[in-house]
């Protein structure tokens, strides 16, 4: 079914993209915007990654070797901010832009001009954020969670730029989420009911609602900071009747849904890749949808598990402990469904599938350490140690990042009409897999042994494990440069890809030719389940 190229009205059905630089500045095409989002995310991933390399180089040995503690703090802070807001979130929005219209048979996003705006805000937001590194007093150095009063009373003068850049990122995410919801609600192909939507679309719909509910609260928090710093209010200053703990409550009311914003679309991606390479339909489609929705709802009820040690009342400790543990149930349903999908399937292990299987295994490890952290009495020991660092890197790197890489390999043939080099892809996988586990697994041990996070120096007994972590980090980091090479090679010289290069892949996007035409589904396709 080659709808787009055959559908030719009088004037513009065959017109392609405009030429030159203005094509990218003025574009309202979801594929162009998706591409720009993905490249921006990749650039940010490398920038945030090089900051991680500075951190690991300093921690290679105990003592201070390369950077001063003040700069080290800026690196940990910026690494977190850039990876969360600059790499993972824009990458998912980029995937949404590319894939959602093609998956639901829509010609474009519902609000194409806003789409352009929400992308073009981002380079300015991150430009501002990165510029703070060169300002007097340096960039943000208070941790990516920017707890008051560190980020208010004791912040460097550049904090106002940081606040403004968070505002811009929030604005961009909210507009992106509005666009996704408007597209999914209004532009599905006839016959595609909600419960027949592909899972990536479902998980993104739910993620978009999380964004709409959580990002404005973040905007509110940074606005309060701005007022505390510049206009003499006392939201977070106890001296004026405010409460620093209030900051943490508000921040994590945003922050916990935020961590699901970074993982729900990943669940969707894995739910496409695992069935494709198992040559079976996804096991338990509707339970996947309900599990995603329950995780989203629960995510707003567990924020204080980040704050077990601030002096919560016993009732609070218990409530947040049990509520947090409850999230393991829908998450377990998902892992069970993926494994059941693979069970007795005719599996082949192409690169996207390798990343997907690693996702399932390693994300589950991260989930288990999360359960340990959820046990409130035990958390008093784990709080602010490297165990926490190990936990969230296990859910974010082989979770969010691996799913994005898997998605890139899986849909690259559709995006650029060429196949990546399968052999190089597999090398990239094993290179990343080894580097990642070498980096983050020892962090569990040093964390349990008491090494605090966010410090440039540490006690001698942690030296060996830290050296292993650092070596792993350099291995993982170089693997991602190799990924850049694979992608560029694919775009320039890859073999021509057929419309559907994967034997078991299903979905409307595979009915389009590869590369997907600039304007696709200008006439809604017939959707048959």
């Amino acid at each position: 079914m080659d709808v787009a190229s055959e559908h030719s009205t009088d004037h513009d059905a065959h017109h392609g993209p405009a030429k030159g630089f203005t094509r990218w500045v003025y574009t309202t095409n979801h594929k162009d915007i998706g591409t720009m989002y993905l490249w921006l995310a990749f650039a940010m991933f490398l920038i945030g990654g090089s900051m991680a390399m500075v951190i690991r180089a300093e921690l290679f040995q105990p003592g201070l070797q390369l950077v001063q503690p003040g700069f080290f703090n800026q690196m940990t802070t910026m690494h977190g901010l850039i990876m969360v807001f600059g790499a993972v979130m824009p990458a998912f929005v980029g995937l949404a832009n590319w894939l959602i219209p093609m998956m639901i048979g829509a010609p474009d996003m519902a609000l194409p001009r806003m789409n352009n705006l929400s992308f073009w805000i981002l380079p300015f937001a991150f430009g501002l954020l990165l510029l703070t590194l060169f300002m007097d007093g340096g960039g943000p150095n208070f941790g990516w969670t920017f707890y008051a009063p560190l980020s208010t009373q004791y912040a460097p003068p550049s904090v106002t730029f940081f606040i403004f850049s968070i505002h811009l990122m929030g604005l961009s995410s909210i507009m992106g989420a509005i666009n996704v919801i408007a597209t999914i609600i209004n532009m599905r192909a006839p016959g595609m009911t909600l419960m027949k939507m592909p899972l990536f679309v479902w998980t993104w719909l739910i993620t978009a609602f999380l964004l709409l509910a959580a990002m404005p609260v973040l905007a509110g928090v940074v606005t309060m900071m701005l007022m505390d710093i510049n206009f003499g209010t006392s939201y977070f200053s106890a001296a004026g009747g405010g409460d620093p703990v209030l900051f943490q409550h508000l921040f994590w009311f945003f922050g916990h849904p935020e961590v699901y914003i970074m993982i729900l679309p990943a669940f969707g991606i894995i739910s496409h890749i695992v069935p494709a390479f198992s040559r079976k339909r996804l096991f338990g489609y509707s339970s996947m949808v309900y599990a995603t929705a329950s995780i989203a709802i629960l995510s707003f009820m567990v924020w204080a598990h980040h704050m077990f040690t601030v002096g919560l009342p016993l009732a609070g400790e218990l409530f947040f402990m049990y509520a947090t543990m409850m999230i393991a149930v829908p998450t377990g349903v998902k892992v069970f469904n993926w494994i059941s999908t693979m069970f007795r399937g005719s599996l082949t292990l192409e690169t996207p599938m390798l990343f997907a299987i690693a996702f399932i295994v390693l994300f589950t490890i991260g989930g288990f350490s999360g359960l340990m952290l959820a046990i409130s009495p035990a958390d008093f020991q784990y709080q602010d140690t490297y165990f926490v660092v190990a936990h969230f890197h296990y859910v974010l790197v082989p979770g969010a990042i691996f799913s994005i890489i898997a998605a890139a390999y899986f849909w690259l043939p559709k995006w650029c009409g060429r196949m990546y080099d399968e052999k190089l892809g597999k090398i990239h996988f094993w290179w990343s897999f080894v580097g990642l586990n070498l980096t983050f697994f020892p962090m569990h041990f040093v964390g349990l042994a008491g090494m605090p996070r966010r410090i440039p120096d540490y006690a001698l007994q942690f030296a060996d494990f830290n050296m292993i972590s650092s070596i792993g980090a350099f291995i993982f980091g170089t693997a991602q440069l190799f990924f850049l090479y694979i992608v560029v090679k694919c775009i320039l010289t890859g073999e021509k890809a057929p419309a559907c290069p994967w034997e078991g892949a299903e979905g409307l996007e595979w009915t389009l030719p590869s590369p997907a035409p600039y304007h696709s589904f200008t006439v809604p396709p017939k959707f048959e389940d």
Binding site: I174, A182, A214, M215, P216, A238, H249, L250
Partner: protein, 179 residues
């Protein structure tokens, strides 16, 4: 843009706007929630409208401890005259704290109370307290500040000790701005 998208756009814009407002609404909401439930040791910072004439429970005595600390760079000295006292639940009791502005310029201060264990906060009633107001002291001036309080006889019987802590904040700038 078709009509359906336009309709969606209305509520899709209203939702984040409402959530932005909700973020600010959470500021008083958390406060109200803690005050109503007595969670997190939130203590009353305004006097009781009328002292409740509770029955004094002579069969029990509670050890009340006083601790003081200064916030950040607050230079005043701030100490309780006695660091602990035994009281009976229901009986009005009085404790005195002494502050001295050791600097050469006038300053304003605000004491913020906190009660530990947090469970006891809702049973600890202050009839009069220096923490209800700001203190303005001239250079080198000293002041004895009383707090009059009683402990509700309903206090759970497994609580034997209550610690009343005060943190003294420098509010000179805020006070100057208010005038």
């Amino acid at each position: 843009m078709d009509a359906r998208t336009q309709r969606s756009l209305v509520w899709l814009v209203l939702l984040p706007v409402a959530m932005f407002g909700f973020g600010f609404a959470l500021v008083p909401l958390y406060d109200v929630f803690c005050r109503v439930t007595g969670l997190n040791g939130k203590v009353n910072t305004s006097p009781l409208a009328m002292p409740v004439s509770a029955k004094v429970d002579l069969s029990r005595s509670i050890n009340i401890q006083f601790v003081t600390q200064n916030n950040a760079n607050m230079p005043w000295t701030f100490q309780p005259l006695s660091t602990e006292m035994e009281i009976h639940p229901g009986a009005d009791s009085r404790a005195v704290f002494r502050v001295k502005n050791v600097t050469d310029h006038p300053m304003s201060a605000q004491a913020i109370p906190s009660i530990s264990p947090a469970e006891a906060a809702q049973y600890f009633h202050k009839i009069q307290c220096f923490c209800f107001n700001q203190q303005h002291l001239a250079a080198r001036e000293s002041l004895d500040m009383p707090v009059i309080f009683y402990v509700d006889p309903e206090l759970p019987d497994y609580i034997h000790t209550i610690t009343l802590g005060y943190t003294l904040f420098d509010v000179t700038k805020l006070a100057a701005r208010a005038n």
